[in-house]
């Protein structure tokens, strides 16, 4: 480094000076943006808590274990709707995860090159379809199909399990779960596909070089590496299923009782709020509905946090941190 060099290499000092004002401005901007997002979240919780205070006060813990919802009798219990929400979401995931993951594996591992991009984009388009459209499709196409073709068969051959009892009319928990699974599939597929595509080539080549079959490569080299992304996809799909409102309201049959079979009419927390909020029969129902909303929020948060903890444990345990 000669002393009379007219263009000295920049030191960290000069860099800092040049960019200071811009940095400060940028910092303020992003801080404001973050504060706004946090404020919205905080306001959301605040409104739910504030609005449901009367219900929390008068009903106490009974809200969490009461099995009836009867506004005229001032009896409010979350159980039928919590069961409805968790049951439909669980069945939806049981269907969506194998299908979505299978599609993601095919699209990244087996599909010919010309097929990958168009099909992947098609699946991502599915995720952009508004839920009410899925609801219409469910009501017009799926409900008659379930009522006349699928459910009588299920009732005939699987009726003994107890899951498929009663008179199948198509508007029930099973149909709602199917609509939810169709809505969750694109989310599961898109995110799993991205994370599987990010698995380094060397990982697969190493497995292939020791003579692994396609299945073994996928099972032992690819899926463990992409696991955190796949779990993220499943959690996002679950999030969509838990909170879905309109599509469920159209096909679930809207009955305020614990489903006794998959052919029972039911109600999720979201559909309960959509159905009842604008037509409360009793002023005390409004705080009860807000408390139901609060519980839906808690369920969603618990599942999300649980998924994150699981993920963190995986990463800590395996030392494999694929994003």
């Amino acid at each position: 480094m000669s002393p009379d060099n007219p263009f000295p290499p920049p030191t960290s000092q000069t860099l800092r000076r040049v960019s200071k004002w811009g940095d400060r401005f940028f910092l303020v901007l992003v801080l404001l943006a973050t504060a706004a997002v946090v404020a919205v979240m905080v306001a959301l919780v605040a409104v739910l808590v504030y609005g449901s205070r009367e219900a929390i006060e008068s009903l106490g813990l009974s809200f969490l274990y009461t099995r009836t919802w009867n506004p005229t009798g001032n009896v409010y219990g979350i159980v039928p709707f919590a069961v409805g929400t968790l049951l439909t979401s669980a069945i939806a995931l049981l269907i969506a995860v194998p299908l979505g993951l299978g599609a993601a594996i095919f699209l990244t591992q087996q599909a010919p090159g010309w097929l990958r991009a168009p099909v992947a984009q098609l699946i991502e388009l599915l995720a952009a379809i508004p839920s009410i459209i899925y609801g219409f499709w469910g009501l017009i196409v799926l409900v008659p199909l379930m009522r006349y073709d699928v459910e009588p068969l299920l009732s005939k051959y699987l009726g003994w399990t107890g899951w498929f009892g009663g008179n199948p009319i198509g508007l029930d928990v099973l149909t709602a779960s199917l609509v939810l699974s169709v809505m969750a599939i694109p989310t599961v597929t898109a995110i799993s596909r991205d994370s599987i595509a990010a698995v380094p080539r060397s990982q697969k080549e190493a497995a292939l070089s020791i003579g692994a079959t396609d299945w073994e490569v996928t099972r032992r080299a690819v899926l463990p590496y992409a696991r955190s992304g796949i779990i993220a996809g499943i959690v996002l799909g679950l999030g969509r299923a838990l909170g879905e409102t309109m599509a469920v309201t159209l096909v679930i049959g809207n009955r305020n009782a614990i489903p006794t079979s998959l052919f029972s009419q039911g109600q999720t927390i979201a559909s309960l709020i959509a159905n009842d909020f604008f037509e409360v029969a009793n002023p005390t129902e409004v705080p009860a509905l807000l408390e139901a909303g609060l519980i839906l929020l808690v369920i969603t948060l618990v599942i999300n946090i649980g998924a994150r903890l699981t993920l963190a444990r995986f990463q800590a345990g395996r030392g494999v941190g694929a994003e």
């Binding site: 508007l171 049959g253 604008f278 409360v280």
Partner: protein
């Protein structure tokens, strides 16, 4: 918040030159715990704020002179059932701008309770709990139109109008009559071959004035219903599929073979869905139409409570006339008895006058002439007389308003 230290250079706590320090962010529970902490703090703040008494409203009153009510805007909200008629009224009325939000009867009642609208509309009268919630000086209740609930059904291949008794409808909705070829149902429908098919019961999933009428009728007809389920805008249904709104019930019944539902007559007629005849107290089976609903309301001749009284048990069900339809109902408006006192000084006398003028117009012969083409039932003369007296009793800070009305 300006730091003021723009000129001073940042403190240089540097690592030895050129050694970039990359802080690997630890992804873990830290941030999550912070979020949870924030949420808890917020909950605490909210609880404290609530107990400190948020949203205390103050009101003052002022008396003004009579102002001609031109260019005023009136806002109403509530019943979806009466919305088509309300919209026709607001388009036809020219003295003031009238906005009507079709948000549902329950929301209409909470909006008038919260003083966010000038009038609320509901198909069911205020129940005791809702009435207790209305702030001082209270509201007047009056019917502005009428309608009827009809049983709609979807039985492919059957074109004859089915007949129902109140007892049959109650048993279907209680879940004790489950098949269309039930001998009792077949008995009142001789000549019709009813299918051997399970009845798919459809009811409202939201609270509804139509449900109020339907359950009130079933309570009159069936003792079990009256003692276990009663009458209200929301029923703890023992069986059936819930659908949202009159249109939701109509759509579900139309798309579901072997279904039965109930809707307001204007939805049945405008959607062309089959609806059954219902037996009235004289034993005749009546297919609802504007004429026999109107005569039912006239013959039922209900005693109106005072305008500020309890309307919950006002009923025009099971009218005594031989050709009266048994499932008729009023639909109601709620307006503050004294808008000046209720809304405070920001509510001008001109606006109160405009409100009274609009209400007078909708119950007038001109206003009521919009009913029949939309399948609503015009008010009987007794109801009109009652309504006019009620509207005339609305005051502004104690002063009567009707004297100010333009011609």
């Amino acid at each position: 918040m300006s730091s003021g230290s723009a000129g001073t250079s940042a403190p240089t706590t540097e690592t030895p030159a050129g050694q970039p320090v990359i802080q690997r962010q630890k992804r873990g529970r830290g941030p999550m715990i912070a979020v949870i902490a924030v949420v808890i703090v917020v909950i605490l703040v909210v609880v404290v704020g609530w107990q400190a008494g948020w949203f205390k409203s103050s009101s003052s009153s002022s008396s003004g002179t009579c102002v001609p009510p031109s260019g005023q805007t009136l806002n109403g909200a509530g019943s979806t059932l009466v919305a088509p008629l309300m919209i026709a009224w607001s388009l036809a009325y020219s003295d003031s701008t009238v906005n009507y939000a079709s948000v549902g009867s329950g929301a209409g009642i909470s909006d008038i309770t919260g003083k966010t609208v000038d009038f609320g509309a509901s198909d069911a009268p205020l129940n005791p709990a809702q009435r207790a919630d209305i702030p001082s000086p209270g509201v007047v209740t009056f019917p502005e139109s009428a309608g009827a609930a009809v049983p709609i059904y979807n039985l492919p291949g059957i074109s004859t109008t089915l007949k129902f008794t109140g007892q049959i409808l109650a048993e279907i909705y209680l879940g004790t009559m489950t098949n269309w070829n039930n001998s009792v149902l077949q008995g009142v429908n001789p000549g019709v071959t009813l299918p051997n098919a399970a009845i798919v019961v459809v009811h409202r999933s939201d609270g509804s004035g139509t449900t109020f009428v339907w359950s009130s009728f079933l309570s009159l007809e069936n003792a079990t219903w009256a003692s276990t389920l009663g009458h209200a805008t929301t029923i703890n249904w023992p069986v059936g599929v819930g659908a949202k709104g009159n249109s939701g019930v109509t759509t579900t019944v139309k798309s579901t073979a072997d279904a039965i539902g109930y809707v307001d007559i204007n939805y049945a007629l405008t959607n062309g869905v089959a609806f059954g005849a219902v037996q009235n107290p004289t034993g005749n089976y009546i297919v609802a139409n504007v004429t026999n609903i109107e005569s039912a309301i006239k013959d039922a001749n209900p005693t109106f409570p005072s305008a500020t009284g309890d309307w919950y048990n006002v009923s025009v069900l099971n009218a005594p006339g031989a050709h009266d339809y048994p499932l008729a109902t009023f639909t109601y408006l709620f307006v503050y008895k004294d808008p000046g006192v209720a809304y405070g000084s920001s509510y001008s006398q001109a606006k109160a006058q405009a409100l009274v003028d609009f209400l007078s117009w909708i119950v007038s012969a001109t206003g009521q002439s919009y009913s029949a083409p939309l399948y609503y039932i015009p008010l009987t003369s007794a109801a009109v007389t009652f309504d006019q007296a009620t509207i005339a009793s609305i005051t502004y800070n104690g002063a009567t308003l009707s004297a100010c009305a333009p011609s």
